[in-house]
Amino acid sequence: MFFMNDKDKFFGFLKSPSVDQVGLEERASRFTKRSIKKETKLNGLFLTLNMIDLTTLEGKDSEGKVKQLCYKAQHLHDTYPGLPTVAAICVYPAMIRIAKKALAGSGIKIASVATGFPSGQVPQKVKIKETRFAVAEGADEVDMVISRGKFLAGEYNYVFDEIATIKDACGAARLKVILETGELGTMDKIRRASDIAMHAGADFIKTSTGKIQPAATMPVTLVMLEAIRDFYYQTGKMIGMKPAGGISKSKLALHYLVMVKETLGDAWMNNEWFRFGASSLANDVLMQIEKERTGNYQSGNYFSID
């Protein structure tokens, strides 16, 4: 981790630095002490909307549901002119084609989960096939899950190779690697998984599937942001970050933005490098934006639930 020579560039993930959980949590809570007011708050809220991967990953997802979500993605709240759109729609592979059609010309990306989401307990051949299918259907981004069983068994090479293989199958699509931090147990393990993912070719690292509790937390996200920072200084390569699951309030989203800004700096403050994986965050942000405009909170019934 510590020297920037070629050997470390390739094997740096074997030397992940340790993480002190107490200190980490203290640092994470310090970001929540920032008081975000006035124009800074409004800018932050707009930015948050623009960083959302609007997500539906249910067994009961249907064509109708996906179409409605795609409309919402482009028209978050039409009574407020000039709002940004979300960054992407996140769906299962079977829904990509429907989303593609519904989002045509909008500039909104289509992210598809793949590789046996959420458990990843399918043969590697199937994972590769599923990834290729998703890309062929038109996914701009692939959200894969790592093999947590292998990782916890210490088979880091397997995990590394699998990510590299999926990256290969992605072609031009950007690869987000879901660590499922809620299953990894310690901050040291989360740090190691982040390093493995980045060295194996991830374009983004992502906390959670949203199917396991705990999902994204600020300390977990901070460990991953710090891994991204170290990787950047080692290789010059920027990696994106996506916390997912459990971020449903604007205030918390703003705390996350403060954390990104003060850990990675201004270059990461856009949806090319930072995303929120969320299904209900958008409406809370919209409610806050309307409050900033009108001075009053409006009833939840004024915001569409899709």
Partner: protein, 502 residues
């Protein structure tokens, strides 16, 4: 979070990699309102439960160091005023406090603690106005810690018979207490709470530049209905302190401040019967080993040296970092330095406030000059500083040698000297190679190393994988020229009692 800052992509060339932070310009001001702070235009001396005009007839101004505006003026006690205060304390000791049932004493101290909590917001604002420290620190640290100290010692008042096995305790008499300007209310709490709990009465002198929260504490003591004369608070400068130290009826001196003044007090009290505790300067070594949790260590180093603008006697002002990780640690420190917000102490987002006084600023600037002359490399935050007031950018010195003055002498400002080491033995030798010995920090992932290091480091407080953590239950104090005696915890009772075999 400003939109115009979103598109700056760092350059790809290895040697020029640098993250960009523009934190200071990014957050809209979030000022704490000063309307809750009631500051009178003039304060008298608090003697015998009342505010009384000074016999000296003199007053001096106290200013806000962040804009140099006058906040109020306070009385300057001369030797006659000091004598009056000590007489009041003696009288209260003999007639009331000494004889009072211990559990009743405890009730008064609990009451003071609760009123501090009730007035926490006002006290925090005044602490920030008078001393220049960020409101985040006075709100989240100074004031709650002061209340906690009173709560803790209130609990001891009726349990002294159980504090020291086979010993009974006896109070001493009048304690003369002199406190510094870096944590005005907290230091007053450190001094007053154990003295009262053990049955002594007090004459306290706050620092010349930060008298206001001590005078607010006097109002709180009035409100708590403490018997007159048990606590007397007199303001003034060095001469007032000298008169207090020399007063024959004082039985115990407690001083927190510079080593220079501490030595003078030690000389003047020699041959007298006065008990003495001194809590003086420091030049703490903060040691990072290569296996340390580096990001948390960097955060600890930042808090260790920039907490209260580095004006902390236990500040981690010497960083020893193992050579194998020095490059990484320095890089991380520089990045973190840039995300510190320097500015109006009343802004809730401010990390670094104003330096306490012009005099202190000049001392810090002198050392910045010395560091550069000694050949150390200076790196400072690129932040803009306000035009009025006393300000210093958070600063790192790299390429520092053990023989540099900036590595040996206490600067008492936001200036970190970074040195490197190779082996455990080497760093122990270097860390202990200081006239001071107040605190130290060790950062490693290895538990056994923590125990080994803490056994060999000559310092009163040693933090492992953290820094600048305080608790009323934990004793605090120094080795060598950092002073003697302990404050806080069970040990903090000792300087205020005589032990008698029971």
């Amino acid at each position: 979070m400003d939109k115009k800052m979103q598109t700056v992509l760092p350059k790809k060339k290895k040697n020029t990699l640098k993250l960009k932070f523009e934190t200071t310009r990014s957050y809209a001001p979030a000022l704490e309102s000063t309307s809750a702070a009631n500051i009178k235009p003039q304060y008298d001396l608090f003697i015998n439960g009342k505010f009384e005009a000074p016999l000296s007839k003199k007053y001096f101004p106290t200013i806000n160091p962040s804009n140099e505006e006058k906040l109020s003026e306070v009385a300057e006690a001369n030797a006659a005023d000091v004598d009056k205060a000590v007489k009041a304390a003696t009288n209260a000791y003999e007639k009331v406090w000494k004889k009072m049932a211990a559990k009743e004493r405890g009730k008064y101290i609990f009451r003071i603690a609760r009123i501090i909590q009730e007035k926490a917001r006002e006290l925090a604002i005044i602490e920030t106005l008078d001393g220049g420290k960020p409101i985040r620190e006075s709100r989240d640290f100074d004031i709650p810690a002061a209340a906690n100290h009173f709560f803790y010692y209130a609990g001891w008042a009726d349990k002294l018979d159980y504090a020291f096995p086979n010993k009974r305790t006896e109070s001493i008499g009048v304690a003369g207490q002199i406190i510094p300007w870096n944590f005005p209310l907290l230091m007053a709490a450190w001094k007053i709470a154990p003295a009262l709990a053990t049955g002594n009465t007090v004459v306290l002198k706050p620092a010349e530049t930060t008298p206001l929260t001590a005078l607010k504490l006097a109002e709180i003591i009035q409100e708590a209905d403490l018997p007159p004369g048990v606590v007397n608070i007199i303001t003034g400068g060095g001469a007032t302190g000298v008169a207090l130290v020399n007063h024959p009826e004082i039985k115990k001196i407690a001083f927190t401040g510079s080593t220079e003044v501490g030595k003078i007090i030690l000389q003047t009290t020699a041959g007298t019967n006065k008990k003495l505790t001194l809590e003086l300067g420091g030049k703490a070594a903060n040691i990072i080993f290569e296996d340390a949790p580096l990001d948390e260590a960097v955060e600890g180093v930042i808090n260790g040296i920039f907490f209260n603008q580095g004006q902390v006697c236990c500040a981690g002002s010497r960083l020893y970092v193992q050579e194998s990780v020095a490059h990484t640690v320095i890089q991380k420190l520089k990045d973190r330095l840039e995300s510190l917000i320097v500015g109006n102490p009343l802004d809730k987002n401010t990390d670094i406030g104003a330096i306490n006084s012009r005099q202190q600023l000049q001392t810090i600037q002198k050392y910045l000059k010395i560091g550069k002359q000694e050949g150390a490399e200076l790196y400072e935050s690129p932040c803009a500083l306000p035009k009025k007031g006393f300000w210093c950018r958070p600063t790192l010195f790299t390429n520092v040698a053990q023989s540099n003055r900036i590595a040996q002498e206490e600067i008492f400002g936001p200036v970190l000297a970074i040195l490197t080491f190779r082996t455990d033995d080497e760093v122990i030798e270097k860390a202990n190679n200081s006239p001071y010995g107040l605190s130290a920090g060790v950062w490693t992932d290895k538990g056994s190393k923590i125990f080994n290091m803490s056994k060999r480091l000559k310092a009163g407080v040693i933090w492992a994988n953290t820094f600048n953590k305080f608790d009323p239950t934990s004793p605090f104090g120094g080795f060598k020229e950092s002073g003697f005696g302990r404050e806080g915890g069970l040990h903090g009772l000792l300087p205020y009692v005589n032990l008698i075999n029971s």
